[in-house]
């Protein structure tokens, strides 16, 4: 029976992908470094508060996310309309 694969654009997908890379130490180290680097981002258009990518955001207030999560957030089709930006 074929099963749908973990979706890489979700938090769960990222966790699954990280688990899968555990047999490759170099890749795992890269992934860990990427996760460790954080940047501050905020959204500037939309409701005063939204649930997005697994957490609650307030418009104009920045949150710290990993580079990998920032990449995954921007990969979502509904990211651009909220005007998420690095601040």
């Amino acid at each position: 029976m074929k099963t749908d694969k973990p979706n890489p654009s979700t938090v769960a997908g990222l966790v699954a992908a990280a688990t899968a890379s555990a047999d490759n130490p170099a890749a795992a180290a890269d992934a860990a470094a990427s996760q460790a680097a954080t940047i501050n981002v905020a959204y500037h258009d939309g409701p005063p508060a939204i649930g997005y990518f697994g957490s609650r955001w307030e418009r104009g207030k920045s949150k710290s996310v990993s580079s990998a999560d920032w990449d995954a957030m921007r990969a979502r089709a509904d990211c651009a309309p909220f005007d998420f930006r690095v601040v």
Binding site: D4, S9, T10, D45, P48, I50, Y52, G54, D78, P81
Partner: protein
């Protein structure tokens, strides 16, 4: 241990597809719902063969479908845009106009162009030439437009995409020069303008998830098509009822199987429910319809699912019919004064009609306004019983007119796009 799934642990995800049955990468929206009536009908076939047994043969496989089912939800001013897009198509994003003219009578402003400046603009009426002009905030005046014929007009600003789109009731225009200098274009609220066409409607993925920890289970519908939306705009509890069908249902028992949530981090909004007190049904100009006590609306795009020779189960094609806008209205019975709904229905006289739901929020008033250029009314028999006040009711239906002006459907809220 009680492992029963609880209704309160369900969640509904929705996401528009890039093509029929193909949702693209996960970017789902959590949708509020009260009940969910979509389910796979296996439609197994009887086997009439005879084989020396008093019992019938086991059923064979048919062509499973997800037939039309009802979904109900609170009338949430944010997520209702998802359903309107599903039923009517992709809306244009314009700027919300929060103030209607007071001095320039007979004019209703639907929205402003996407580049109109935020703040107060000026709408001016000149009796000589019967013209309207529009000067957006921090902008310049555009070309004067003759509105003597009445109907729908675009009044341009001095630069591109700064216009306002208005409906004009020529008989109610001022008798002298007038202007309104406080027509407020909101800085952040959007006016989502839905199309009325026969184009194919966008299909969507819907996923009903049972989220009980340790025993999650998912029913995923691909090729979801919405055909109806109905709404009682005067009810105290503001709900909407929808009808939808889908091409196929996937779950843990299908091939391919669905055992994980479609989107583990869906986008979600706080709910803003339309108020019963915000419901309004008028002729778009004044109170001439009479004292309306109940008003409902139904949109029906008459979409039906068709099984196709594509080697896949379920509906392979959604066929759209005419777009129908109809509903009911009830009003205090005061006889047939000219222009009231009862008079219009008894004399088969069509009229413009505007149906509006709204709710105040800290960020401004959210609203959903349907403006129909031509509506016909069909009277119900008057209930002649009891000793208290009498009411009359009628059903209504929007119809085409010689000018070809189509209904204007505008949702104002803070959602950036659908």
């Amino acid at each position: 241990m009680n492992n029963q799934h609880k209704g309160a642990e369900m969640q509904l995800l929705g996401q528009f597809e890039t093509s029929f049955r193909t949702p693209g990468a996960a970017a789902a929206l959590r949708l509020p719902f009260i009940s969910f009536g979509l389910a796979r009908d296996l439609r197994r076939t009887d086997d009439p063969s005879i084989d020396n047994s008093p019992l019938s043969a086991k059923s064979g496989c048919g062509d499973a479908v997800v037939p039309p089912g009802a979904i109900s939800s609170t009338a949430d001013a944010r997520s209702i845009g998802f359903y309107l897009k599903a039923i009517l198509g992709q809306p244009l994003v314009k700027k919300a106009v929060m103030t209607q003219p007071a001095n320039v009578t007979g004019v209703y402003i639907h929205y402003a162009g996407s580049a109109a400046g935020a703040g107060n603009g000026t709408l001016a009426y000149l009796i000589a030439g019967t013209t309207l002009s529009w000067t957006p905030a921090a902008g310049t005046v555009g070309t004067l437009i003759n509105v003597s014929a009445g109907g729908r007009f675009t009044i341009p600003g001095g630069s591109a995409n700064t216009e306002v789109v208005v409906d004009v009731d020529a008989a109610s225009l001022p008798v002298a020069n007038q202007n309104d200098a406080t027509i407020n274009v909101h800085a952040t609220l959007k006016a989502h303008v839905f199309p009325v066409t026969l184009d194919d409607r966008p299909s969507c993925l819907l996923e009903l998830g049972h989220m009980k920890t340790g025993q999650t289970e998912f029913y995923r519908y691909l090729g979801g098509i919405f055909s109806k939306l109905s709404h009682d705009v005067t009810a105290r509890d503001q709900n909407i009822t929808l009808t939808a069908f889908a091409a196929e249902e996937r779950s843990a028992d299908t091939t391919p199987a669905v055992t994980t949530v479609w989107d583990a981090a869906p986008t979600s909004y706080d709910r803003v429910r339309f108020c019963g007190s915000g419901g309004k049904l008028t002729n778009g100009v004044n109170t001439g319809f009479g004292v309306v006590t109940e008003a409902s609306i139904e949109i029906d795009n008459q979409a039906t699912g068709l099984e196709t020779a594509d080697g896949a189960e379920g509906y392979g094609h959604a066929d759209n019919g005419e777009v129908m806008f109809g509903g009911k209205a009830k009003l205090v019975f005061r006889g047939q004064s000219a222009g009231n709904l009862w008079n219009l229905s008894r004399t088969s006289t069509s009229s413009r009609m505007q149906v509006r739901s709204s709710v105040p929020t800290s960020g401004g008033v959210f609203s959903l306004t349907y403006d129909y250029p031509s509506v016909e009314f069909m009277p119900d028999p008057i209930e002649k019983s009891g000793k208290t006040g009498l009411f009359v009711s009628c059903s209504w239906k929007a119809h085409r007119n010689v000018g070809g002006t189509l209904p204007m459907i505008v949702l104002v809220n803070d959602v950036p796009s659908y």
